[in-house]
Symmetry: C2
Subunit: 702 residues, 2 copies
């Protein structure tokens, strides 16, 4: 790891100064901190001289504590630091990441209660991160959070790209509106989900993307969420101030802390260039370095899956339709009538293995392989799966051997149905089973309300569990891709075996009625600020009724758009989600998926506008190859791409997968054209993207 | 196993009969069942021609179900059976137990909902057991209980021996009052506890002991409580009817069931002789037979403990007083200042081992051996113990080797602080640690509110956990003695490694201010109906200020009473709880504890009156020796004991440990006299018991 660390420590002790200032390394951001006369802490943020966050309160309200950590503070100590270091992630959008910030650490004391806390501010060139710290001390040992009172006072009625605040789900389409319009549009924004719970019609989730009428982009999120509950935001409509709203547990408390402890970082990214938001590494930089030691067993994965055919309803996860319910260990499946639609059977899986192997994939996911799917959903069932007992038609060993002979790894699936205690009871044996049969990665799921009942997906209890499962997986050298878990906040720096999460509205919703065609132009500004998303793109057959006549969903994207996602929707896990027979119809387009790299030396966000378009160029790791992608919203658009990121003096061949002239996500999604072109660093390409379309490009050195 | 099974099956199908009758084998009890016109089920119970339970409703109210399982029933099928079998428990009060009942099975159908349930009644010579059954069927699959509506309509304002209804604790002194007086006395009956939650001032726990003014004894309880929540009783004062009140989970639901399922048995014992209640094996007989297979590793245990000195405050569980809190794995105890009062240190433990070994004990319990005791209590701490890391002054291996050389087994201690998830996460490694260091039994504790927060000690969630821990312990051939867990209900028949529970107000409360002197004359009628209690008797020094000047508690018992408890308070685990130095002051009395058997061929309850006295005689297993015990309440009393249970023609020597003439639990508790006497089966002994006193007797064949 190449490190360049420059540290200057300056200690300023001032009991009489109430205003503190910090600037970013490039001086464009300025943070101001103060205490008012009641000893309440406030901060504000300027960008290029303009106020972006007006004076906003900080503090925490505690249970059974009249004063709480809200006011009565005095500044006890101040220090500031400059930090500049480069580090290498195990996998990522870049092979090197610079962590460069100016830090201000303020120790606040409550003289009456004889206790103190710390607020630590870090200003990066792209924005601010800050958190609360609770040092070990006599008068602050165990405390329970009633609510955190961190505010983000907006300076105007910005445009926001938002989903409803919720304790259990992020799987909503985005709504674009003014802040003042949120409450009025809230009910329309709510779509059904297996597990969901809102708290206010002015509540929204993070990361929250906004754009001011002056064209300033603002993003609010959190980083390093662990041992704490998730922060939603509640808008105070009268003041246009967002207030932190933590996730309660079963009895309404919002966090149990034992000092020494820290809160997650609250992040505010600001730029007049939207691509700065996408390119920011702030979330990762605010997380702790790798804690796992040896990471040689962690690798990005390109995979296919016996999955989409169940999502569309063409096949089933469950083996039989005969039983109203099952009891694991008591139900004898060999005595039931198979429904004939169970996709996870040995012969069918082998066909997928053949296809995946032939086309150079790394792994195959199979869902529905294990006993318990007949009543897994919606029953609040505790002992729902044991994660080790296959159905009668799924021969684990034979499949493993066959896959191995074809150079394919099997990807495990652990659907937990939200029954966390049950999962933890089986976790060691489940991971041992994986080791025994050569599964190196697992997709886990938490569909449905959490058990213990009353807990939420985004509460401290569940958040503790998700990390517990990841850390234990590392003991077994297993990589984890957790769906329906909490959205990531950069913990993948510390635990690089956390290679994926869903935790947002993914491709499956295209088969559940469809998602908005510009959804993929918003997600990188919202969900992906915290980390990669296993979006599972690559759908070539948009008319779902062709897979299942009872499902009239339509995938609101063109094929070119689907190819572009492998570039624009960053993930070290990339799935070619469709059925082999659909790829076989379009093998020339499929070639891009076969060629796309999944780990990167460099990433350049060329242009971006949330809700409208994103264009990204990435250089494959340890390779001279580049890949480009553009995803487009609902308005057809022309774009001009300068290839000045290519290495000077080299000649490349670009293969361009673009929308055909008359392509349209709804009426003509499968129309694309492929062309090749010689390019250099001095080339400029002009391309057109259809509504819900885009383009993808592989650029190979010649 | 000697079995005598006589089965007669009679099938009576009657769609038109609404009244059904069942009699006990000795015909003294009569059960009547009927449906009223609304199809609501009722039962009533007579004893020797007198009504004991007036017409009482049955049924269950379900969440999200308008009809519930309350009315609209029709009788679909009726069958009755006679059952008579003898079986042998692995350990117990008797080497053989007869299970003899008449059974009535009624299938009730709701034609409109097209679903059915079963109510199964079993009448024994000592009373009634009945339960609900939910067979597998199409229209009853998953259901959530809002409340069970089982009623027990009393025929008069009986005297009751009760403790407040509570979701988390049974550690109350008993109150003796009329039913109508309960609500008025409720607040006085409440003493503080680390975890407690009441639901109504008319709520009481089971087993509930009562005596009618006609001198009929009535006991209400439950048997085979698993996969269900605990039943308290709520008194309807206007009708003097007790109604079942289940324990809610964090969101207020009272049970999650998946058919096929059964409720626990609700039991009603009735007799005009109080000793019949104590002698009843109904609870065990209603439980499933041994499920563990080989039980050769399960043995009763006579033990001592490094425990009482901490309970009294003479020593501490924790190692240091220096830290406000600890974080396991982060806190370096070797760098802290030991408080000099940590009893669980190697040298001190060895002294106990020496004493226990010298006097023929099986095992030594040591509490406070492991890291984490500095902040274990009252902090709702999740990762509170890891169960495998000893304090710096407790050398596990050295102590194990030393104990082994002295023929003593170490008894493990797992205090969980109610943090159930934490305990389960560590359970396998904790049990493996025990196997590694030769611990064959564990005392577990659940002091403090349950985590997950919102769950209760007596809710379905925790009840599932307690059994999970016992079953997993059996996999490791470990015996479990669970304190603060749910009170037992006979599961020890199915899982004989569950050798003990506390789950009531035990001896420790004598050091927390004292318990009522007649407490031990009530417990066998209440707490022990469900199973043995690790009461940990044998205190010889009643003035606790002699151990800890800051603790003015007084043990409200005489030494003779403490000795008697080894006979009257049945348990396969028997602790000599006091400090060795106190036994050394009274070695002649201590001899009884050394001699007492802990497993029995026969048990005879000679005389008993709840709140006043109990006298029991037991024959040691595979031995001709007998042991007697009498515990007395607050009124000095004379008793006459016929020894006609002794084997005819044999001569025995009885050693009698009795209260001295002027003994009194408060003013003169240590005054006792020991005498010996030759006795035969024709002997009668006259003895006097002091207030809070008693006598103990060993009768050895000569």
């Amino acid at each position: 790891m190449k490190n360049t660390i420059v540290l200057f420590g300056l200690l300023l002790t001032s009991l009489l100064t109430y205003g503190q200032t910090l600037k970013s390394p490039n001086s464009e951001h300025e943070l101001n901190f103060k205490l008012n006369e009641a000893g309440t802490p406030f901060y504000s943020l300027n960008y290029k001289g303009k106020e972006i966050i007006e004076e906003s309160q900080l503090g925490l309200e505690l249970v059974d504590d009249d004063t709480s950590l809200m006011n009565g503070f005095e500044i006890k100590e101040i220090s500031d630091t400059i930090f500049d270091e480069t580090w290498e992630p195990v996998w990522g959008e870049q092979s090197e990441i610079r962590n460069h910030y100016n830090e201000l650490v303020i120790t606040l004391e409550q003289p009456k209660e004889e206790r103190h806390i710390i607020i630590r501010f870090r200003l990066f060139d792209e924005g601010l991160g800050f958190r609360y710290e609770f040092p070990q001390q006599k008068n602050l040992v165990y405390f329970v959070i009633k609510e955190e009172h961190t505010e983000f006072a907006m300076t105007g009625d910005h445009t926001a790209f938002w989903i409803p605040g919720d304790y259990d789900s992020q799987e909503y389409d985005y709504t674009i509106s003014k802040l003042s319009e949120i409450s009025g549009l809230f009910d329309d924004a709510l779509t059904g989900n297996a597990s969901q719970e809102q708290f206010a019609e002015t509540g929204v989730q993070t990361s929250l993307m906004m754009k001011s009428k002056d064209g300033i982009y603002i993003n609010l999120h959190e980083a390093a969420l662990k041992e704490y509950s998730l922060m939603n935001l509640n808008l105070d409509e009268s003041s246009l101030t967002f207030k932190s709203w933590l996730t309660p547990d079963a009895v309404g408390n919002k966090g149990y802390l034992q000092a020494p402890a820290v809160s997650p970082w609250r992040t505010v990214m600001v730029s007049d260039d939207a691509t700065d938001i996408l390119a920011s590494n702030m979330t990762l930089n605010l997380n702790e370095p790798n804690a796992l030691g040896d990471t040689s067993w962690i690798k990005p994965i390109k995979y296919m899956g016996v999955w989409w055919e169940m999502i569309t309803g063409k096949s089933t996860w469950n083996y039989t339709d005969e039983l109203p319910s099952v009891k694991l260990g008591e139900t004898d499946y060999s005595k039931t009538i198979p429904n004939g639609k169970h996709a996870a059977n040995t012969e069918h899986v082998k066909k997928y293995i053949d296809f995946a192997s032939k086309h150079g994939f790394d792994a195959l996911l199979v869902e529905g392989w294990n006993e318990g799917w007949e009543d897994w959903f919606g029953n609040s069932k505790d002992f729902v799966f044991d994660f080790v007992t296959p159905y009668p038609d799924f021969d684990v060993e034979e499949i493993h051997d066959y896959a191995k002979s074809k150079n394919i790894e099997m990807m495990m699936h652990h659907e937990t149905s939200g029954a966390i205690r049950n999962y933890e009871r089986h976790l060691d044996t489940a991971y041992q089973f994986m080791n025994k049969y050569g599964y190196t990665s697992v997709k886990s799921g938490y569909v449905g309300d959490i058990i213990p009942r009353g807990e939420r997906h985004y509460g401290q209890w569940a958040i503790n569990h998700y990390l517990y499962a990841v850390k234990k997986a590392a003991d077994y050298k297993i990589m984890v891709n957790a769906h329906e878990a909490v959205r990531p906040t950069g913990l993948r720096r510390t635990y690089p075996n956390l290679i994926g999460n869903e935790s947002a509205r993914g491709t499956e919703f295209q088969a559940f009625g469809g998602s908005k065609p510009n959804h993929v132009t918003i997600l990188p500004f919202t969900r992906l600020i915290g980390g990669p998303m296993d979006y599972t793109p690559g759908i070539f057959e948009m008319d779902i009724s062709k897979l299942n006549p009872n499902n009239n969903s339509h995938v609101n994207a063109t094929i070119a758009n689907q190819l572009a996602l492998y570039v624009t929707m960053y993930s070290p896990l990339q799935m070619a989600a469709d059925l082999p027979e659909h790829y076989e119809q379009f093998m020339d387009a499929f070639q891009f998926i076969k060629d796309i790299a999944i780990d990167w030396d460099e990433s350049h966000y060329l242009e971006a506008e949330p809700g409208e378009y994103i264009t990204v160029a990435r250089k494959a790791k340890d390779s001279s190859s580049w890949f480009l992608g553009n995803v487009n919203g609902t308005t057809p658009r022309k774009t001009k791409v300068d290839l000045d990121f290519l290495e000077k003096g080299k000649t490349y061949e670009a293969t361009i997968y673009a929308d055909a002239k008359d392509a349209h996500y709804k009426t003509n999604p499968q129309a694309y054209k492929i062309s090749t072109k010689k390019v250099t660093s001095r080339s400029t390409l002009k391309l057109k993207s259809a509504a819900g379309g885009g383009f993808a490009m592989s650029i190979i050195e010649k």
